[in-house]
Amino acid sequence: MSFRFIVRKIFRALLTIWIIVTFIFIVLRISGDSALLIYGPDVSAKALATLRKVWGLDKPIWQQYLIYVSSVFHGNFGNSYLDGRSAIRVVAERIPKTLSLMWVTAVITLLIGIPAGIFSALHHNTRRDRITMTLAVMGLSIPNFFLGVLLILLFSVSLRLLPSAGSETWKHYIMPVITMSTAEAAVLARFTRSAMLEVLNQPYIRTAISRGVPWKIVVREHALPNAAISIVTMVGFFIGSLIVGGVITENVFAWPGVGRLLVSSVANRDLAVVQVIVLLISLSMVTANLIVDLAYGWLDPRVRDLRSEEP
């Protein structure tokens, strides 16, 4: 892998982040007045003007933007309008909760989705394949919020087995993780299946069989490494949808994470906090994609060579 390639990729990633942050900055400011939201409609015009002045909201948007950019470069991301603490801190204290939920979900999704897809592909067109795929279609057709509410009704309200809100014990994890990983695992299983089927139809699989390589080894050594190339693409998307799904799920289960903070901050026009979260999300998305890109080169020698030849 060429160094040049990585440098270019990182540059593009930074560009993407900059565009997203700028977009969000502008949209948030033209879609509502923070000062008004905080004080309510009954406040005097003078008080509003003072508040706007304090936060710099009275300046034209481009000036606000320049100030914002320059303070970001100084490591200052602004303060929360609500409690005056640094926005970074407000967000940072929520991150561990979100991460713990995400990685449990990610591990479970990968552990279910990929093996299920492989299983289905290896039993192509048999009953096992059809049952697995029917389950997958069911899984991905139930919306996250609906499944979440359904689970709460069943396990919390009727059976009283699991807590419906909060994040203190391992029991709190069960329903959010099920909610998020159902659809993700289903998508991943379907994708893995088609990637495997395509690879299994390739001439080199037939060649390997004809060379007397046992079927198990053919699958492990020849089919899987090739299927992994396309599965990795999917995993990149998966991290994105995990973030999106996280926002919804955190709200359904009152999980005190970043997703919940995002929704409340947008509603309250707590601009600095929203901007930090958006920056964080785009940073993680872009990093995920960068890792996927690097993984291609690691998995596929053809890509490796192509990259060192690119003009």
């Binding site: 892998m1 160094f3 037939r206 069989i209 060379r211 090739n226 020698p301």
Partner: protein, 705 residues
Amino acid sequence: MNAKPSKPILKSKPEPLIQISGLTVDFDTPTGWLRCLHGVDFEVYPGEILGLVGESGSGKSITCMSIMKILGPRARIRGSVKYKKQDILTLDENGLTQIRGSDIAMIFQDPAVSLNPVHTIGRQMVESIIYNTSIPTLNHTKESSEQNSGKVEKYRRVTGQTAHSEAELLMNRVGIPEAKQRLKEYPHQLSGGMNQRAMIAMALAGRPHLLIADEPTTALDVTIQAQILELIRDLRKETGMSIILITHDLSVVAETSDRVAVMYCGRIVEKGPVARIFANPRHPYTRGLLASVLRIDRQIEKLYSIEGSVPAPYEMLKGCAFEPRCQAALNKCKFDQPVFKTEPEGCGIACFNPQSGRVTAFEVLNKQEDAPYTARQKQNEQPLLEAADLLKYFRIRRGSGLFGKKKKLKAVDSVSFSVKRGGTFGIVGESGCGKSTIARLLLNIETPTSGAVTFNGRKISGLPPAEWRRLRLHMQYVFQDPLNALDQRMKIIDQVAEPLLIHNTIRAAMRHDKAAELLRSMDLKDHTFDRYPHELSGGQQQRVVLARALILEPELLVCDEPTSALDVSIQAQVINLLTELRKRLNLTMVFISHDLSIVRHICEQVAVMYLGKFVELAKSDMLFNSAVHPYTQALLSAIPIPDPGLSRKRIFLKGDPPSPIDLPSGCSFHTRCHIARQVCAELVPELKSLKEGHLVACHLAHDEA
């Protein structure tokens, strides 16, 4: 290997190595079982090469894949495949794994996709060795068998080290230079020929008794094909293994095989010793195949082609499957299926009306009562197309790092030629020699680095878009693979009419009529007009591509390998059509091909290209009868000739063409040349006139003249 090399032609019959009888294969389709093989019987004797011939769709590959039982779960295989007194078809997966690779090995058509792209050649070699090493020693060299004596329990416990050195030996055996380095490389880093050698080496790892080679040279250049066929013959001689060689090319059979079996629509229709089949083919299908083969050593006006194409398995009717295309069909052929009659000396035929006598294209030509057309007129006109000092460099980056070195790839290097109106100009060469780049330059798809293309007296590069568009009407391009050149989701008639729409030359209402008329003139029936490309046969598809190119009534047609994706019989159809169209429309043609026989047949003037340069340019007859450049001579001699009795002196080119990025010094051919001298490595030879109309770029040719 226990069997000694045995004489191919057998007086007293030994036991066959493998005996296939009553082999039928059905595929599970949504509409029920579809029969693709209808009871195939044949046998292979120890040490012989059996050629299995037929057009695509005749069931050759299915036959061989059912021997190995690698057709997948949707195939139902019946009959028996007796190998060493056991029936392979009754073996379980475990037993099959034992036999595959160790007793029967297989190599496939396209080596580039038949090897796993994410593993190194070495890793795949080692794997073959590990899974196919059954008994004590695996090394055939004396010293290593001494080393291994005593260690009897080597089964599947070959160490990586041993396997690796064995891999190196095998790579050397199949003629791969710098084996150690190659083992570390991936398939995409090797040339097609090298990959095919590597695949052969993997097949040899288990020292098989039978090697099945499924079109092993179809995807390769003629020069490489000659090398691979030579290797296969050598290996047979050396190891005494039997080989089933699947091919559509009868010339390849003539040069390699001892016996032939001809297949059509899932049946063997004729079999026998090679000499006999070629001297006295009896089945009309065999005769048709033989007649449609282009021969480099003959020149004829019009090629024979078997009409129509192989029916798909679901289109099969009662009676002989070949009946609709047969010239010797009797009435009963429509209703009864001829039974295969076995005859002495390994012959046999399934036909109610066998023919006799040698087939030559001449005879068949006479039967078709087609008068040879008259030669060109108006030779004194101005050239329609002129290429002057065309140069095309690509810059590519080599190596890693932030500032990896950029290198020049000289795809086309100072090429000049001109084609008169109505003339035909052929460009031949191995793949990667830059011939397709020339085609792209001629049509302004690529811009030359320097030099110019002049069409009808006007320089085409740098024209304003509107003017170029107008000029573009008169120049059209025909591509290699018709299926990929057509839009899969557009009806045939619409695709042919589309250029009229783009250039808006005639009224909308007329477009379809004109397209239909043109398609009819190309022997496409009305019911095909509303079909989609995949529903047509390869030959029909290529005719659609031609129609699309011709509907604007161009003056110039640039054909880039228009027949190399097609079967021999179909190839003949397309070439005949091209010849006829050229005559009728007074087309000027630039014909690019790796196949010298086709170029000879079609073109008046031929240029031979090597690594971006023309090395010889002459009138077609002159070039084929008295080629001067050693490369041209080697190309000519690499072409197989469908005449098993013919013996000729052949020049084998060593290795692959060098990389166009690091061209050899002096004459770029000197590294592979069989007559190269000191001067060739130092000076670049100029393309100079040897005699009227014959240009050669070779130091030695001019010295001798």
